[in-house]
Amino acid sequence: MAVNNTETMTINMGPQHPSTHGVLQLILELDGEIVVKATPHIGFLHRGIEKLSEHRTYHQTIPLTDRLDYLAPMSNNLGYVLAVEKLLGMTDEIPERVQRIRVIMAELTRLKSHLVWLACHALDIGAMTVFLYCFRERENITDIYEKVSGARMTSNYFRVGGLSADLPDGLEQEIRTFAESMPAHIEEYEGLLTGNRIWQKRTIGVGKISAEAAIDIGITGPALRASGVDWDLRRDNPYSGYEDYDFEVPVREGCDTFDRYKVRLDEMRQASRIILQALDKLKPGPILADCPKIVLPNKQDVVNNIESLIHHFKIVTEGFKPEPGEIYQSVEAPKGELGFYLISDGSSHPFRMKIRPPSFVNLQGLPQMVEGRLLADVIAVIGTLDIVLGEIDR
Protein backbone atom coordinates (compact mmCIF):
# COMPACT_ATOMS: atom_id res chain seq x y z
CA MET A 1 0.00 0.00 0.00
CA ALA A 2 1.29 3.41 -0.94
CA VAL A 3 2.14 5.56 2.07
CA ASN A 4 1.98 9.28 1.49
CA ASN A 5 0.75 12.43 3.10
CA THR A 6 -2.47 12.92 1.14
CA GLU A 7 -5.81 12.78 2.87
CA THR A 8 -8.03 9.78 2.41
CA MET A 9 -11.49 10.17 0.91
CA THR A 10 -14.53 8.40 2.26
CA ILE A 11 -17.12 7.33 -0.25
CA ASN A 12 -20.42 5.61 0.16
CA MET A 13 -21.35 2.60 -1.93
CA GLY A 14 -24.92 1.40 -1.77
CA PRO A 15 -27.50 0.53 -0.63
CA GLN A 16 -28.71 1.68 -4.03
CA HIS A 17 -25.95 0.29 -6.20
CA PRO A 18 -26.37 -2.30 -8.96
CA SER A 19 -23.32 -4.27 -7.86
CA THR A 20 -24.04 -4.65 -4.17
CA HIS A 21 -26.44 -7.53 -4.82
CA GLY A 22 -29.30 -6.09 -2.89
CA VAL A 23 -29.11 -3.51 -0.19
CA LEU A 24 -25.60 -3.74 1.17
CA GLN A 25 -23.93 -0.49 2.09
CA LEU A 26 -20.16 -0.14 2.11
CA ILE A 27 -18.29 2.80 3.53
CA LEU A 28 -15.00 2.87 1.66
CA GLU A 29 -12.02 4.92 2.74
CA LEU A 30 -9.88 5.57 -0.31
CA ASP A 31 -6.33 6.70 -0.84
CA GLY A 32 -6.51 7.59 -4.50
CA GLU A 33 -7.95 4.46 -6.01
CA ILE A 34 -6.67 2.17 -3.27
CA VAL A 35 -9.12 1.00 -0.64
CA VAL A 36 -7.70 1.68 2.83
CA LYS A 37 -10.68 0.58 4.84
CA ALA A 38 -14.00 -1.03 3.97
CA THR A 39 -16.86 -1.13 6.44
CA PRO A 40 -20.01 -3.04 5.50
CA HIS A 41 -23.28 -1.73 6.90
CA ILE A 42 -26.11 -4.19 6.97
CA GLY A 43 -29.69 -4.25 8.20
CA PHE A 44 -31.48 -2.64 5.26
CA LEU A 45 -33.47 -5.81 4.72
CA HIS A 46 -34.02 -6.79 8.33
CA ARG A 47 -37.51 -8.26 8.28
CA GLY A 48 -37.54 -9.91 11.68
CA ILE A 49 -37.88 -13.49 10.47
CA GLU A 50 -36.40 -15.00 13.64
CA LYS A 51 -38.80 -13.05 15.82
CA LEU A 52 -41.75 -13.79 13.55
CA SER A 53 -41.10 -17.52 13.83
CA GLU A 54 -41.56 -17.38 17.60
CA HIS A 55 -45.22 -16.58 17.05
CA ARG A 56 -45.92 -19.27 14.50
CA THR A 57 -46.24 -23.01 14.67
CA TYR A 58 -43.34 -25.06 13.36
CA HIS A 59 -45.09 -25.69 10.07
CA GLN A 60 -45.96 -22.04 9.53
CA THR A 61 -42.29 -21.06 9.63
CA ILE A 62 -41.42 -23.03 6.47
CA PRO A 63 -42.62 -20.25 4.08
CA LEU A 64 -40.50 -17.74 6.01
CA THR A 65 -37.39 -19.79 5.34
CA ASP A 66 -38.05 -19.51 1.59
CA ARG A 67 -37.37 -15.82 1.88
CA LEU A 68 -34.06 -16.05 3.74
CA ASP A 69 -31.77 -16.91 0.87
CA TYR A 70 -34.26 -16.33 -1.90
CA LEU A 71 -31.85 -17.63 -4.53
CA ALA A 72 -31.91 -21.04 -2.89
CA PRO A 73 -35.31 -21.48 -1.26
CA MET A 74 -35.33 -25.27 -1.09
CA SER A 75 -31.96 -25.45 0.66
CA ASN A 76 -33.42 -23.26 3.39
CA ASN A 77 -36.54 -25.42 3.55
CA LEU A 78 -34.33 -28.46 3.86
CA GLY A 79 -32.21 -27.02 6.66
CA TYR A 80 -35.27 -26.00 8.61
CA VAL A 81 -37.28 -29.20 8.26
CA LEU A 82 -34.22 -31.29 9.13
CA ALA A 83 -33.77 -29.17 12.26
CA VAL A 84 -37.40 -29.65 13.31
CA GLU A 85 -37.23 -33.37 12.55
CA LYS A 86 -34.12 -33.64 14.69
CA LEU A 87 -35.89 -31.77 17.48
CA LEU A 88 -38.78 -34.21 17.23
CA GLY A 89 -36.41 -37.19 17.08
CA MET A 90 -37.95 -38.48 13.87
CA THR A 91 -34.90 -38.25 11.60
CA ASP A 92 -34.82 -42.04 11.10
CA GLU A 93 -38.47 -42.23 10.09
CA ILE A 94 -38.21 -40.19 6.92
CA PRO A 95 -39.10 -42.42 3.94
CA GLU A 96 -36.41 -43.10 1.38
CA ARG A 97 -38.30 -41.50 -1.50
CA VAL A 98 -38.57 -38.26 0.48
CA GLN A 99 -34.84 -38.21 1.07
CA ARG A 100 -34.09 -38.78 -2.59
CA ILE A 101 -36.47 -36.07 -3.76
CA ARG A 102 -35.07 -33.70 -1.16
CA VAL A 103 -31.56 -34.31 -2.46
CA ILE A 104 -32.68 -33.79 -6.06
CA MET A 105 -34.38 -30.52 -5.21
CA ALA A 106 -31.50 -29.34 -3.01
CA GLU A 107 -29.01 -29.96 -5.81
CA LEU A 108 -31.26 -28.28 -8.38
CA THR A 109 -31.36 -25.39 -5.94
CA ARG A 110 -27.58 -25.36 -5.82
CA LEU A 111 -27.54 -25.07 -9.60
CA LYS A 112 -30.18 -22.35 -9.48
CA SER A 113 -28.27 -20.32 -6.91
CA HIS A 114 -24.90 -20.72 -8.64
CA LEU A 115 -26.48 -19.70 -11.96
CA VAL A 116 -27.69 -16.41 -10.50
CA TRP A 117 -24.31 -15.93 -8.84
CA LEU A 118 -22.46 -16.46 -12.13
CA ALA A 119 -24.91 -14.26 -14.05
CA CYS A 120 -24.53 -11.33 -11.64
CA HIS A 121 -20.82 -11.81 -11.02
CA ALA A 122 -20.09 -11.78 -14.76
CA LEU A 123 -22.46 -8.87 -15.36
CA ASP A 124 -20.73 -6.82 -12.65
CA ILE A 125 -17.35 -7.45 -14.25
CA GLY A 126 -18.74 -6.57 -17.66
CA ALA A 127 -19.78 -9.78 -19.43
CA MET A 128 -23.40 -9.42 -20.51
CA THR A 129 -23.84 -12.65 -22.51
CA VAL A 130 -23.20 -14.90 -19.53
CA PHE A 131 -26.11 -13.26 -17.74
CA LEU A 132 -28.51 -14.14 -20.54
CA TYR A 133 -27.20 -17.71 -20.86
CA CYS A 134 -27.40 -18.37 -17.11
CA PHE A 135 -30.92 -17.06 -16.82
CA ARG A 136 -31.93 -19.24 -19.76
CA GLU A 137 -30.97 -22.35 -17.79
CA ARG A 138 -32.35 -20.93 -14.59
CA GLU A 139 -35.76 -20.66 -16.24
CA ASN A 140 -35.71 -24.43 -16.76
CA ILE A 141 -35.13 -24.93 -13.05
CA THR A 142 -37.92 -22.49 -12.16
CA ASP A 143 -40.19 -24.53 -14.44
CA ILE A 144 -39.31 -27.67 -12.48
CA TYR A 145 -39.90 -25.76 -9.24
CA GLU A 146 -43.27 -24.66 -10.51
CA LYS A 147 -44.30 -28.18 -11.42
CA VAL A 148 -43.44 -29.61 -8.01
CA SER A 149 -44.53 -26.77 -5.77
CA GLY A 150 -46.63 -24.32 -7.78
CA ALA A 151 -44.22 -21.42 -7.33
CA ARG A 152 -41.27 -20.28 -9.37
CA MET A 153 -39.20 -19.11 -6.45
CA THR A 154 -40.78 -19.32 -3.01
CA SER A 155 -41.45 -23.03 -3.14
CA ASN A 156 -42.57 -24.02 0.38
CA TYR A 157 -42.30 -27.60 -0.82
CA PHE A 158 -40.79 -29.57 2.06
CA ARG A 159 -42.81 -30.48 5.10
CA VAL A 160 -41.80 -31.69 8.53
CA GLY A 161 -41.77 -35.44 7.93
CA GLY A 162 -41.90 -35.37 4.15
CA LEU A 163 -43.03 -33.33 1.19
CA SER A 164 -46.15 -31.37 0.35
CA ALA A 165 -46.74 -33.41 -2.82
CA ASP A 166 -45.15 -36.13 -4.91
CA LEU A 167 -43.37 -35.36 -8.17
CA PRO A 168 -45.90 -34.95 -10.98
CA ASP A 169 -45.93 -37.44 -13.86
CA GLY A 170 -43.15 -37.05 -16.37
CA LEU A 171 -41.10 -34.69 -14.24
CA GLU A 172 -38.41 -37.24 -13.46
CA GLN A 173 -37.61 -37.42 -17.15
CA GLU A 174 -37.59 -33.63 -17.42
CA ILE A 175 -35.17 -33.31 -14.50
CA ARG A 176 -32.99 -36.02 -16.03
CA THR A 177 -32.86 -34.28 -19.40
CA PHE A 178 -31.98 -31.02 -17.72
CA ALA A 179 -29.28 -32.53 -15.49
CA GLU A 180 -27.76 -34.29 -18.49
CA SER A 181 -27.67 -31.07 -20.51
CA MET A 182 -26.11 -29.02 -17.71
CA PRO A 183 -22.41 -30.00 -18.15
CA ALA A 184 -22.55 -28.81 -21.78
CA HIS A 185 -23.98 -25.49 -20.66
CA ILE A 186 -21.25 -25.13 -18.05
CA GLU A 187 -18.71 -25.67 -20.83
CA GLU A 188 -20.43 -22.85 -22.65
CA TYR A 189 -19.99 -20.45 -19.72
CA GLU A 190 -16.40 -21.55 -19.30
CA GLY A 191 -15.83 -20.91 -22.99
CA LEU A 192 -16.96 -17.34 -22.49
CA LEU A 193 -15.03 -16.64 -19.31
CA THR A 194 -12.20 -18.95 -18.25
CA GLY A 195 -9.76 -18.15 -21.04
CA ASN A 196 -10.99 -14.58 -21.42
CA ARG A 197 -8.09 -12.26 -20.67
CA ILE A 198 -10.27 -9.52 -19.23
CA TRP A 199 -11.92 -12.04 -16.92
CA GLN A 200 -8.53 -13.38 -15.85
CA LYS A 201 -7.16 -9.90 -15.17
CA ARG A 202 -10.19 -9.03 -13.08
CA THR A 203 -10.23 -12.24 -11.05
CA ILE A 204 -6.80 -13.88 -10.71
CA GLY A 205 -5.12 -12.75 -7.50
CA VAL A 206 -8.09 -10.57 -6.57
CA GLY A 207 -9.66 -10.86 -3.14
CA LYS A 208 -7.16 -13.27 -1.64
CA ILE A 209 -7.87 -14.83 1.72
CA SER A 210 -5.69 -17.50 3.28
CA ALA A 211 -7.04 -20.75 4.66
CA GLU A 212 -6.18 -19.72 8.23
CA ALA A 213 -7.93 -16.38 7.89
CA ALA A 214 -10.95 -18.02 6.29
CA ILE A 215 -11.24 -20.52 9.12
CA ASP A 216 -10.75 -17.80 11.74
CA ILE A 217 -13.59 -15.76 10.32
CA GLY A 218 -15.80 -18.79 9.86
CA ILE A 219 -16.12 -18.67 6.09
CA THR A 220 -17.81 -21.77 4.69
CA GLY A 221 -18.89 -23.10 1.34
CA PRO A 222 -17.15 -22.55 -2.00
CA ALA A 223 -15.22 -19.57 -0.61
CA LEU A 224 -13.59 -21.84 1.98
CA ARG A 225 -12.91 -24.65 -0.49
CA ALA A 226 -11.21 -22.26 -2.90
CA SER A 227 -8.78 -21.43 -0.08
CA GLY A 228 -7.67 -25.04 0.07
CA VAL A 229 -9.79 -26.31 2.95
CA ASP A 230 -11.46 -29.60 2.12
CA TRP A 231 -14.71 -29.26 4.04
CA ASP A 232 -18.19 -30.03 2.81
CA LEU A 233 -21.02 -30.92 5.15
CA ARG A 234 -22.64 -33.17 2.57
CA ARG A 235 -19.65 -35.47 2.82
CA ASP A 236 -18.28 -34.75 6.30
CA ASN A 237 -21.57 -34.65 8.20
CA PRO A 238 -24.09 -36.26 5.85
CA TYR A 239 -27.80 -35.63 6.08
CA SER A 240 -30.76 -36.71 4.01
CA GLY A 241 -28.88 -39.70 2.62
CA TYR A 242 -25.97 -37.82 1.03
CA GLU A 243 -23.64 -40.67 2.05
CA ASP A 244 -25.23 -42.82 -0.71
CA TYR A 245 -23.96 -40.68 -3.55
CA ASP A 246 -20.65 -40.68 -5.29
CA PHE A 247 -19.46 -37.11 -5.76
CA GLU A 248 -16.30 -35.11 -5.47
CA VAL A 249 -15.76 -32.02 -3.39
CA PRO A 250 -13.86 -29.55 -5.57
CA VAL A 251 -11.00 -27.89 -3.72
CA ARG A 252 -8.51 -25.37 -5.06
CA GLU A 253 -5.54 -23.59 -3.55
CA GLY A 254 -5.56 -20.21 -5.26
CA CYS A 255 -7.57 -18.39 -2.53
CA ASP A 256 -8.66 -15.82 -5.11
CA THR A 257 -11.74 -14.83 -7.08
CA PHE A 258 -10.81 -16.95 -10.07
CA ASP A 259 -10.49 -20.12 -8.01
CA ARG A 260 -13.78 -19.44 -6.25
CA TYR A 261 -15.31 -19.18 -9.72
CA LYS A 262 -13.76 -22.50 -10.76
CA VAL A 263 -14.84 -24.22 -7.55
CA ARG A 264 -18.43 -23.14 -8.05
CA LEU A 265 -18.48 -24.30 -11.66
CA ASP A 266 -17.09 -27.69 -10.59
CA GLU A 267 -19.74 -27.83 -7.89
CA MET A 268 -22.38 -27.32 -10.56
CA ARG A 269 -21.02 -30.30 -12.47
CA GLN A 270 -21.07 -32.40 -9.31
CA ALA A 271 -24.62 -31.27 -8.57
CA SER A 272 -25.76 -32.59 -11.95
CA ARG A 273 -24.04 -35.89 -11.15
CA ILE A 274 -25.79 -36.16 -7.78
CA ILE A 275 -29.17 -35.39 -9.38
CA LEU A 276 -28.71 -38.18 -11.93
CA GLN A 277 -27.64 -40.67 -9.25
CA ALA A 278 -30.60 -39.74 -7.07
CA LEU A 279 -32.96 -40.17 -10.02
CA ASP A 280 -31.52 -43.63 -10.63
CA LYS A 281 -32.11 -44.57 -7.01
CA LEU A 282 -35.58 -43.04 -6.85
CA LYS A 283 -38.23 -45.68 -6.16
CA PRO A 284 -41.97 -45.33 -5.61
CA GLY A 285 -42.99 -45.03 -1.99
CA PRO A 286 -44.69 -42.84 0.57
CA ILE A 287 -43.87 -39.13 0.61
CA LEU A 288 -44.74 -38.57 4.25
CA ALA A 289 -43.45 -40.21 7.41
CA ASP A 290 -45.82 -42.41 9.37
CA CYS A 291 -46.17 -40.05 12.35
CA PRO A 292 -49.89 -39.20 12.69
CA LYS A 293 -49.35 -36.64 15.45
CA ILE A 294 -46.95 -34.58 13.34
CA VAL A 295 -47.74 -35.17 9.68
CA LEU A 296 -51.09 -34.13 8.22
CA PRO A 297 -53.23 -37.15 7.21
CA ASN A 298 -54.43 -37.36 3.65
CA LYS A 299 -57.80 -35.87 2.83
CA GLN A 300 -59.56 -39.18 2.22
CA ASP A 301 -58.69 -40.40 5.72
CA VAL A 302 -59.88 -37.15 7.28
CA VAL A 303 -63.30 -37.66 5.70
CA ASN A 304 -63.64 -41.36 6.56
CA ASN A 305 -61.74 -41.87 9.80
CA ILE A 306 -62.46 -40.15 13.13
CA GLU A 307 -58.90 -40.58 14.40
CA SER A 308 -57.44 -38.89 11.33
CA LEU A 309 -60.00 -36.12 11.69
CA ILE A 310 -58.88 -35.50 15.27
CA HIS A 311 -55.20 -35.49 14.30
CA HIS A 312 -55.90 -33.14 11.43
CA PHE A 313 -57.81 -30.79 13.72
CA LYS A 314 -55.11 -30.82 16.37
CA ILE A 315 -52.25 -30.22 13.94
CA VAL A 316 -54.04 -27.40 12.14
CA THR A 317 -55.34 -25.60 15.22
CA GLU A 318 -52.41 -25.88 17.59
CA GLY A 319 -49.60 -27.70 15.79
CA PHE A 320 -47.36 -30.35 17.25
CA LYS A 321 -45.42 -29.87 20.47
CA PRO A 322 -41.82 -31.11 20.62
CA GLU A 323 -40.27 -32.04 23.95
CA PRO A 324 -38.35 -29.20 25.61
CA GLY A 325 -34.79 -29.13 24.35
CA GLU A 326 -32.45 -27.52 21.92
CA ILE A 327 -30.76 -28.71 18.76
CA TYR A 328 -28.55 -27.42 15.98
CA GLN A 329 -28.78 -28.75 12.45
CA SER A 330 -26.79 -27.48 9.52
CA VAL A 331 -26.79 -28.22 5.81
CA GLU A 332 -24.42 -27.36 3.00
CA ALA A 333 -26.42 -24.63 1.29
CA PRO A 334 -25.07 -23.25 -2.02
CA LYS A 335 -23.38 -20.42 -0.15
CA GLY A 336 -21.99 -22.41 2.76
CA GLU A 337 -23.08 -23.81 6.08
CA LEU A 338 -26.68 -22.91 6.79
CA GLY A 339 -27.58 -23.77 10.36
CA PHE A 340 -30.78 -23.64 12.37
CA TYR A 341 -30.61 -23.57 16.15
CA LEU A 342 -33.98 -24.31 17.69
CA ILE A 343 -35.02 -24.13 21.33
CA SER A 344 -38.29 -25.74 22.29
CA ASP A 345 -40.07 -25.01 25.57
CA GLY A 346 -42.62 -27.73 24.97
CA SER A 347 -45.14 -25.48 23.24
CA SER A 348 -46.17 -25.51 19.60
CA HIS A 349 -43.98 -22.49 18.81
CA PRO A 350 -40.19 -22.39 18.90
CA PHE A 351 -38.96 -20.53 21.99
CA ARG A 352 -36.12 -19.23 19.89
CA MET A 353 -34.93 -19.87 16.36
CA LYS A 354 -31.42 -18.72 15.55
CA ILE A 355 -30.30 -18.92 11.97
CA ARG A 356 -26.65 -19.22 11.05
CA PRO A 357 -26.64 -17.81 7.53
CA PRO A 358 -23.54 -18.47 5.43
CA SER A 359 -23.62 -15.07 3.70
CA PHE A 360 -23.56 -13.17 6.99
CA VAL A 361 -20.41 -14.93 8.12
CA ASN A 362 -18.77 -14.88 4.69
CA LEU A 363 -19.33 -11.13 4.41
CA GLN A 364 -16.91 -10.67 7.31
CA GLY A 365 -14.13 -11.64 4.94
CA LEU A 366 -14.84 -8.66 2.68
CA PRO A 367 -12.71 -5.99 4.44
CA GLN A 368 -9.70 -8.32 4.49
CA MET A 369 -10.16 -9.15 0.81
CA VAL A 370 -10.44 -5.60 -0.50
CA GLU A 371 -8.20 -3.54 1.76
CA GLY A 372 -5.06 -2.51 -0.09
CA ARG A 373 -6.59 -3.20 -3.47
CA LEU A 374 -8.23 -1.08 -6.16
CA LEU A 375 -11.74 0.26 -5.89
CA ALA A 376 -12.84 -1.74 -8.95
CA ASP A 377 -11.86 -4.96 -7.17
CA VAL A 378 -14.53 -4.31 -4.56
CA ILE A 379 -17.15 -5.15 -7.21
CA ALA A 380 -15.42 -8.42 -8.07
CA VAL A 381 -15.09 -9.36 -4.40
CA ILE A 382 -18.75 -8.68 -3.58
CA GLY A 383 -19.65 -10.88 -6.53
CA THR A 384 -17.32 -13.67 -5.55
CA LEU A 385 -18.58 -13.78 -1.96
CA ASP A 386 -22.04 -14.57 -3.32
CA ILE A 387 -23.95 -12.80 -0.60
CA VAL A 388 -27.70 -12.50 -0.32
CA LEU A 389 -29.00 -9.75 1.89
CA GLY A 390 -32.22 -11.57 2.76
CA GLU A 391 -30.11 -14.06 4.60
CA ILE A 392 -27.65 -11.59 6.10
CA ASP A 393 -30.27 -9.31 7.61
CA ARG A 394 -32.97 -11.96 8.08
Partner: protein, 172 residues
Amino acid sequence: MGVEQSKTLGSGFITTSLDKLVNWSRASSMWPLTFGLACCAIEMMATGAARFDLDRMGIIFRASPRQADVIIIAGTVTKKMVPVIKTVYEQMPEPKYVIAMGACASSGGIFDTYSTVQGVDEFLPVDVYIPGCPPRPEGLLYGLMKLQDKIRAERNTFGAAIGVGDVIHNEA
Protein backbone atom coordinates in the same frame (compact mmCIF):
# COMPACT_ATOMS: atom_id res chain seq x y z
CA MET B 1 -52.35 4.97 -31.11
CA GLY B 2 -54.25 7.87 -32.60
CA VAL B 3 -51.44 8.62 -34.98
CA GLU B 4 -52.91 8.94 -38.45
CA GLN B 5 -51.44 8.72 -41.91
CA SER B 6 -52.42 11.89 -43.74
CA LYS B 7 -54.19 11.32 -47.06
CA THR B 8 -53.83 14.84 -48.44
CA LEU B 9 -50.17 15.32 -47.54
CA GLY B 10 -48.91 12.01 -48.92
CA SER B 11 -47.04 9.11 -47.39
CA GLY B 12 -44.20 11.07 -45.73
CA PHE B 13 -46.43 12.76 -43.14
CA ILE B 14 -48.47 11.81 -40.11
CA THR B 15 -50.81 13.99 -38.13
CA THR B 16 -51.35 13.75 -34.39
CA SER B 17 -51.69 15.93 -31.32
CA LEU B 18 -48.62 16.98 -29.38
CA ASP B 19 -49.96 15.29 -26.25
CA LYS B 20 -50.26 12.00 -28.08
CA LEU B 21 -46.74 12.35 -29.43
CA VAL B 22 -45.36 13.01 -25.95
CA ASN B 23 -47.39 10.18 -24.42
CA TRP B 24 -46.36 7.81 -27.17
CA SER B 25 -42.67 8.51 -26.61
CA ARG B 26 -42.99 8.28 -22.82
CA ALA B 27 -44.96 5.03 -22.88
CA SER B 28 -42.61 3.44 -25.42
CA SER B 29 -39.40 4.04 -23.53
CA MET B 30 -40.00 3.63 -19.84
CA TRP B 31 -36.61 3.19 -18.27
CA PRO B 32 -36.80 1.61 -14.83
CA LEU B 33 -34.17 2.07 -12.16
CA THR B 34 -32.11 -1.02 -11.30
CA PHE B 35 -33.14 -1.12 -7.70
CA GLY B 36 -33.69 -4.53 -6.21
CA LEU B 37 -34.56 -4.85 -2.57
CA ALA B 38 -35.32 -8.52 -2.00
CA CYS B 39 -36.77 -11.65 -3.59
CA CYS B 40 -38.88 -9.73 -6.15
CA ALA B 41 -35.68 -8.28 -7.60
CA ILE B 42 -34.70 -11.74 -8.83
CA GLU B 43 -37.99 -12.05 -10.69
CA MET B 44 -37.41 -8.54 -12.01
CA MET B 45 -34.03 -9.73 -13.34
CA ALA B 46 -35.67 -12.82 -14.81
CA THR B 47 -38.15 -10.54 -16.59
CA GLY B 48 -35.27 -8.63 -18.11
CA ALA B 49 -33.43 -11.79 -19.16
CA ALA B 50 -33.70 -14.10 -22.13
CA ARG B 51 -37.14 -15.67 -21.85
CA PHE B 52 -39.24 -12.59 -21.09
CA ASP B 53 -37.01 -9.91 -22.56
CA LEU B 54 -38.06 -6.45 -21.43
CA ASP B 55 -35.92 -4.77 -24.07
CA ARG B 56 -38.46 -5.56 -26.78
CA MET B 57 -40.90 -3.22 -25.00
CA GLY B 58 -38.39 -0.39 -24.91
CA ILE B 59 -37.77 -1.02 -21.23
CA ILE B 60 -34.07 -0.80 -20.41
CA PHE B 61 -32.78 -0.84 -16.86
CA ARG B 62 -30.74 2.17 -15.82
CA ALA B 63 -28.37 2.13 -12.88
CA SER B 64 -28.70 5.83 -12.12
CA PRO B 65 -31.90 7.48 -10.87
CA ARG B 66 -31.04 10.53 -13.00
CA GLN B 67 -31.75 8.52 -16.13
CA ALA B 68 -34.79 6.61 -14.90
CA ASP B 69 -38.50 7.21 -15.45
CA VAL B 70 -39.90 4.39 -13.37
CA ILE B 71 -38.87 3.03 -10.01
CA ILE B 72 -39.93 -0.56 -9.41
CA ILE B 73 -40.00 -1.15 -5.68
CA ALA B 74 -39.12 -4.83 -5.84
CA GLY B 75 -39.07 -6.26 -2.37
CA THR B 76 -39.56 -5.65 1.31
CA VAL B 77 -39.18 -2.03 2.42
CA THR B 78 -37.76 -1.72 5.90
CA LYS B 79 -37.82 1.35 8.09
CA LYS B 80 -34.06 1.66 7.70
CA MET B 81 -34.47 1.70 3.91
CA VAL B 82 -37.14 4.45 3.76
CA PRO B 83 -34.81 7.48 3.68
CA VAL B 84 -32.72 5.84 0.96
CA ILE B 85 -35.74 5.15 -1.25
CA LYS B 86 -37.00 8.70 -0.70
CA THR B 87 -33.63 10.12 -1.73
CA VAL B 88 -33.46 7.95 -4.81
CA TYR B 89 -37.01 8.88 -5.79
CA GLU B 90 -36.27 12.58 -5.37
CA GLN B 91 -33.23 12.24 -7.63
CA MET B 92 -35.38 11.00 -10.52
CA PRO B 93 -36.43 13.63 -13.07
CA GLU B 94 -40.11 14.35 -13.77
CA PRO B 95 -42.26 12.72 -15.02
CA LYS B 96 -41.69 9.73 -12.75
CA TYR B 97 -43.75 6.72 -11.88
CA VAL B 98 -43.72 4.15 -9.09
CA ILE B 99 -44.56 0.46 -9.35
CA ALA B 100 -45.04 -1.48 -6.11
CA MET B 101 -43.97 -4.98 -7.08
CA GLY B 102 -45.10 -7.79 -4.85
CA ALA B 103 -46.97 -8.18 -1.60
CA CYS B 104 -44.25 -6.60 0.58
CA ALA B 105 -44.03 -3.37 -1.39
CA SER B 106 -47.81 -3.19 -1.71
CA SER B 107 -48.84 -3.99 1.84
CA GLY B 108 -45.97 -5.39 3.89
CA GLY B 109 -46.92 -8.91 2.87
CA ILE B 110 -46.23 -11.64 5.40
CA PHE B 111 -43.76 -9.47 7.29
CA ASP B 112 -45.97 -7.67 9.76
CA THR B 113 -43.08 -6.91 12.09
CA TYR B 114 -41.43 -4.09 13.99
CA SER B 115 -38.93 -3.37 11.22
CA THR B 116 -41.02 -3.56 8.05
CA VAL B 117 -42.94 -0.74 6.38
CA GLN B 118 -46.48 -1.89 5.62
CA GLY B 119 -46.52 -0.84 1.99
CA VAL B 120 -44.40 1.64 0.08
CA ASP B 121 -47.48 3.83 -0.47
CA GLU B 122 -46.96 5.12 3.06
CA PHE B 123 -44.40 7.53 1.61
CA LEU B 124 -44.41 7.29 -2.22
CA PRO B 125 -47.24 7.89 -4.75
CA VAL B 126 -47.71 4.41 -6.23
CA ASP B 127 -49.10 4.13 -9.77
CA VAL B 128 -49.36 0.36 -10.17
CA TYR B 129 -49.57 -2.39 -7.57
CA ILE B 130 -48.57 -5.90 -8.60
CA PRO B 131 -49.72 -8.71 -6.30
CA GLY B 132 -47.76 -11.92 -5.77
CA CYS B 133 -44.98 -13.20 -3.57
CA PRO B 134 -43.06 -12.73 -5.76
CA PRO B 135 -45.14 -11.85 -8.84
CA ARG B 136 -44.40 -13.91 -11.92
CA PRO B 137 -42.54 -12.14 -14.75
CA GLU B 138 -45.84 -12.14 -16.64
CA GLY B 139 -47.29 -10.24 -13.69
CA LEU B 140 -44.57 -7.62 -13.87
CA LEU B 141 -45.03 -7.33 -17.64
CA TYR B 142 -48.76 -6.82 -17.17
CA GLY B 143 -48.10 -4.19 -14.52
CA LEU B 144 -45.75 -2.36 -16.86
CA MET B 145 -48.37 -2.49 -19.62
CA LYS B 146 -50.94 -1.08 -17.22
CA LEU B 147 -48.55 1.77 -16.51
CA GLN B 148 -48.20 2.36 -20.26
CA ASP B 149 -52.01 2.59 -20.50
CA LYS B 150 -51.98 5.11 -17.69
CA ILE B 151 -49.31 7.21 -19.38
CA ARG B 152 -51.20 7.16 -22.68
CA ALA B 153 -54.35 8.42 -20.98
CA GLU B 154 -52.65 11.53 -19.57
CA ARG B 155 -53.67 14.90 -21.05
CA ASN B 156 -51.81 18.20 -21.44
CA THR B 157 -48.47 16.44 -21.17
CA PHE B 158 -46.89 18.70 -23.80
CA GLY B 159 -48.33 21.80 -22.17
CA ALA B 160 -47.01 20.79 -18.77
CA ALA B 161 -43.58 20.10 -20.29
CA ILE B 162 -43.32 23.68 -21.62
CA GLY B 163 -44.76 25.15 -18.44
CA VAL B 164 -48.42 25.69 -19.36
CA GLY B 165 -50.75 24.14 -16.79
CA ASP B 166 -50.44 20.73 -15.17
CA VAL B 167 -50.80 17.19 -16.42
CA ILE B 168 -54.38 15.92 -16.21
CA HIS B 169 -54.52 12.31 -15.07
CA ASN B 170 -57.38 10.35 -16.57
CA GLU B 171 -58.54 6.86 -15.74
CA ALA B 172 -56.79 4.43 -18.06
